[in-house]
Amino acid sequence: MKKELIQLRVNGRTHELAVEPSKLLLDVLREDLRLTGSKRGCDDSSCGACTVQVGGIPMLACTLLAASCQEQEITTVEGVSEHGSLAAIQKAYGDWGGAQCGYCTPGFIMTVKYLLANNPHPTEAEVKQALSGNLCRCTGYNQMYEAIKSAIEAEQKGLVAAK
């Protein structure tokens, strides 16, 4: 298939790329931009391992055409760590065992970032609901809830300190 020139804005930087119109966002991120943090787990939008944020909304990059994401701010897990240090949620996932094999973790991080951005104090039910689009096979999710709780507390402390 003939390639076309597209512009993608990923993690705050604009990239000009020649890709087939049929090429999926996940493949462009992983192959063309070498951003391999977003994972392929299922090929059919069942598992959420490829979750990225497009215009601030969590989307499944494995079933999204790259060409359809132009003029939008795309954020991948590589764009989450803040100025070279772990974001609160990343630190918390490590401390509380929210990540075991780690393959689903980038997808979860992107989903949780969205949750906390739009609902800073979610109830347990809201957390479960938000995470239900991402599958994890190691943890049974319990330790992720702990991680999210402590990340919220950490953010709070940060805010207080900032004031």
């Binding site: 391999t36 780690g102 393959y103 994890c136 190691c138 999710y141 319990n142």
Partner: protein
């Protein structure tokens, strides 16, 4: 969640809640898994799979495929016709089919091309002519087969059968006051690890011959050593010419513990293409590769005394093993062997049949061989309690082992935390007050389980140690641990670093773990049978102790004391007592070091100056002590290895090799469920799970493994099931397979029980598998407590629950296992995956059970 207090009892590194050493790599996405890797000139490999469950290959023509633009090589069985298998007794697989295909999804050919698109286009152009053969989908039918056996030399498609008798069964049942007999079925489940299998194979050009030389393989494997071993067998290359590297692995659960076809196919393709080749399975291919937990039919008979004391147990187990041997004989042996080592049963008889069928091969899956039999056993125990009006809690008290002991089937049990586990979950769930008193529709159930801490006998018979670890410490004070143990998410690398740091008394950040690279790390038989903490942990412990001895002897000279007077901790080496040393010992201070120096180490200027001013003091920093040791000994390296002690290796009878372990973990669980009698839906509200892991080296990891095991058991108990139709998998996708999501996952409260095993590193044993098996019966028993129905077939789907409820209402006896046909789901959304879409529906041999009765079955034909 569980109690959070730090119980470090005297230890400075182990016992503390520690983030995994590779946690940041994982949460930032920086860590590399196999499919994240790419090398210059790398090609993409795609595999052609069989659309038929059992057929003879008459002709394969690849010319059209080779002509496709971008295609570099097409390989078939002829390119590597050597058979292999994970077990030395089961070499029945070809990487690519040579004569026959034996299941829908069997590997036929592989295309290596510049792009995935051209590879897929080429696959369509490979012409294969098949001659259909009758195929077998149900194990009990397959055992009756008289013709066209799936493998030569396997009459009636029986891969292996074992018959064990321990004690006197007739006498045992005669002495029993009550005998209970029933059939239990656990349907087939699979690992569904989040990372699809992936392998990258690359040959170097040999500078002397100018031809292809050494092979490097990056692969998502739990056992680099086994992969290296099988690659050398099939590619007919010496092992020393093959380097296997394990990058991060996105979950294994047993599915990556044996050599999966693509791991060898990638190398065969790379050899033919003379270019690096990467193959990554699609999710559907992962389901076909399978090697999961077989559908298991358990006929169980238990005889007990009035008080519930077990007198005799007879089990007949039939496993639907799929088309190849895989770990089959080991699985069927575990099913029998681990009837023992949990309760005190004087008389046990076991008949196990591992049967071949035309479906993807089953293999090892978390709780290998023990899970489905444990479901049957713990359910039957609950049925007995119901009949005898006994409390399952009390009955278990009557049946505990009295360790140290050797069971009737020669399993040695030293540490045994089961009583405490049972007590903890009973207390946590307020069992005595609440069981049977939650009203109709809600109930509590109890289940127990156990598992090996590594197999005492390696599957490749040899006297080699099961684990070897090298440690190198240098002047920078950095500790590098080289281990073949495979981090697959369970915390192997973290455990290794913790053990080394604890022994050397240094901070964790000094320790770097280099793991699972056959060129750099000593042989280790990998991450399976929950062996890493016990075996690689002990090897690390011994290597670190060797280093500590060398540091101590040098540091003692510096501090004018005896090595025994030194303690290692808080990143220091310190004197315990400040007694002045005797004249004899003082002499040692003047004996020359290898570098010829008699006194004074080479230290960074400032440090040296400081020392001069202060003179000998009663402590050194770890770094100073290391420098002293290197000056004295010349180099600072240590090696440790571990092999299970001989008295832990079991009996002498046929099949005695499987089951023995240096130590067993124990688990007890209580599940609280409610049952919707209108929909048949079962909701699990909470599971209390106590696990005896010997000692918790890292409580975060231990709790993570307990919760994860319980959760995986919950999936098998309620919703996970591989559904077959005419040998085709009807739910080969994560959406249809339905492993539980966050909304279906209840709170699991883990309780850590520490029995301090005499042979474990710091007393530690297994914690990653043992908890899984208890969950399924705990839920089954809770359903009984809730609505009084006994479910003897897992998973307990709404359909099965409703059927049982109906039977209960009109009091008509309904045998749930009657007429269960694994080939007709009629329950799940059916699509059968890519092969349906390509119109290659289930065209079948006239003799197939699927075709009989309904000629010209659904789906197209080609």
């Amino acid at each position: 969640m569980a109690n959070r207090e730090q119980t470090t009892n005297g230890f400075s590194v182990i016992g503390r809640r520690t983030a995994m050493v590779d946690a940041a790599e994982k949460t930032t996405g920086a860590g590399k898994y196999t499919d994240d890797l790419s090398v210059l000139g790398m090609l993409i490999g795609k595999i052609l799979h069989s659309p038929y469950p059992h057929a003879r290959i008459k002709r394969i023509d690849t010319t059209k495929a080779l002509a496709v633009e971008g295609v570099v090589a097409v390989v078939t069985g002829q390119d590597a016709p050597v058979t292999y298998g994970i077990l030395p007794i089961g070499h029945d697989e070809h990487a690519l089919a040579v004569d026959k295909v034996r299941y829908v999804g069997d590997n036929v050919a592989c295309v290596a091309a510049e792009t995935e698109a051209s590879a897929e286009q080429a696959l369509e152009l490979i012409e294969v002519e098949y001659e259909l053969l009758p195929s077998w989908f149900d194990p009990e039918q397959s055992m009756k087969a008289e013709v066209e056996f799936i493998h030569e030399g396997r009459p009636h498609n029986i891969e292996k059968e074992y018959h064990h008798v321990f004690g006197d069964l007739e006498k045992g049942f005669a002495e029993s006051d009550h005998i209970h007999e029933a059939r239990y079925i656990a349907n087939e489940v699979t690992h569904a690890a989040m990372e699809p299998h992936s392998t990258l194979a690359s040959f170097e050009l040999d500078p002397h011959t100018g031809k292809l030389g050494r092979l490097t393989v990056w692969s998502s494997t739990q056992v680099p050593y086994y992969l290296q071993h099988k690659l050398s067998l099939v590619l007919e290359m010496p092992m020393a010419q093959i380097r296997v590297i394990k990058p991060l692995v996105g979950g294994g659960f047993g599915g990556k513990s044996e050599v999966i076809p693509l791991e060898i196919i990638a190398a065969i393709a790379a050899r033919a293409a003379k270019r690096p080749v990467k193959i990554t399975y699609t999710r559907e291919e992962v389901f076909w590769a399978h090697r999961g937990r077989p559908r298991t039919i358990v006929d169980l008979k238990t005889g007990v005394k009035k008080d519930g004391r077990m007198v005799a147990v007879r089990a007949r187990v039939v496993q639907d093993g799929g088309a190849y041997c895989s770990y089959g004989p080991v699985t069927i042996l575990y099913s029998g062997a681990l009837l023992g080592a949990i309760y005190d049963i004087p008389n046990v008889a076991y008949d196990g049949y591992r049967v071949l069928t035309n479906k993807p091969a089953c293999g090892a899956m978390r709780g290998h061989g023990t899970v489905n039999v444990r479901f049957a056993f713990e359910s039957q125990l609950d049925e007995i309690c119901a009949t005898l009006k006994l409390d399952p809690y009390d009955v278990r008290q009557e049946n505990f082992l009295k360790p140290p002991c050797i069971t009737v089937n020669n399993l040695r049990v030293l540490s045994y935390g089961l009583p405490e586990c049972v007590q903890k979950v009973a207390a946590g769930s307020r069992w005595k007050e609440r069981r049977g008193k939650l009203g109709r529709g809600r109930g509590l159930g109890m289940g127990c389980s156990h598992y090996v801490s590594g197999a005492a006998n390696s599957i490749i018979r040899s006297d080699m140690p099961h684990s070897t670890v090298n440690i190198k410490v240098d002047r920078d004070g950095g500790v590098v641990v080289y281990t073949g143990a495979s981090e697959i998410g369970q915390g192997s690398d973290t455990m290794t670093a913790q053990v080394a740091a604890e022994v050397l008394g240094c901070v964790l950040s000094r320790v770097r773990v280099v793991a699972a690279d056959t060129d750099l790390t000593p042989i280790d038989i990998g991450s399976y049978s929950s062996r890493v903490t016990m075996m690689a942990g002990n090897a690390t412990l011994r290597a670190a102790e060797e280093i500590r001895k060398q540091i101590a002897s040098a540091a003692a000279r510096k501090m004018n004391c005896a090595p025994e007077d030194l303690v290692f901790g808080n990143d220091r080496v310190s004197k315990t007592s400040t007694r002045s040393i005797a004249a004899g010992e003082g002499a040692r201070a003047t004996e020359p070091s290898v570098s010829g120096h008699v006194e004074g180490q080479i230290l960074r200027g400032s440090l040296q100056q400081k020392r001069k001013e202060e003179g000998p003091k009663d402590w050194m920093t770890f770094e100073e002590a290391v420098v002293a040791a290197i000056d004295f000994h010349g180099a600072l390296t240590g090696t440790g290895s571990y092999a299970p002690s001989l008295d832990a290796r079991g009996g002498k009878f046929k099949g005695a090799g499987v089951g023995p372990s240096p130590a067993y973990s124990y688990s007890a669980q209580v599940a609280e469920v409610s049952v919707d009698e209108d929909t048949g839906e079962v909701t699990v509200h909470k599971i209390w799970a106590a696990h005896d892991c010997g000692r918790a080296l890292n409580p975060v990891s231990v709790e993570g493994q307990i919760i994860g095991s319980v959760w995986m058991g919950l999936g098998q108990a309620l919703q996970e099931e591989m559904v077959w139709k005419d040998g085709m998998l009807m739910n080969p996708g994560l959406l249809e397979y339905r492993s539980p999501s966050a909304v279906e996952s209840p709170e699991v409260e883990p309780f850590i029980v520490e029995s301090i095993d005499p042979e474990g590193p710091f007393g530690a044993k297994e914690c990653s598998e043992g908890s899984l098996a208890a969950t399924i019966p705990a839920i089954a028993n809770a359903i009984y407590d809730a609505v009084g129905i006994r479910l003897r077939e897992a998973p307990f789907t709404p359909e099965r629950v409703l059927a049982a409820l109906r039977a209960q209402k009109n009091a008509k006896k309904l045998n749930l296992t009657e007429g269960v046909d694994p080939t007709s789901p009629g329950r799940f959304r059916e699509h059968g995956g890519a092969l349906w879409f390509k119109g290659k529906g289930p065209q079948r041999h006239p003799l197939d059970p699927a075709v009989r009765g309904q000629q010209g079955s659904a789906g197209g034909n080609d």
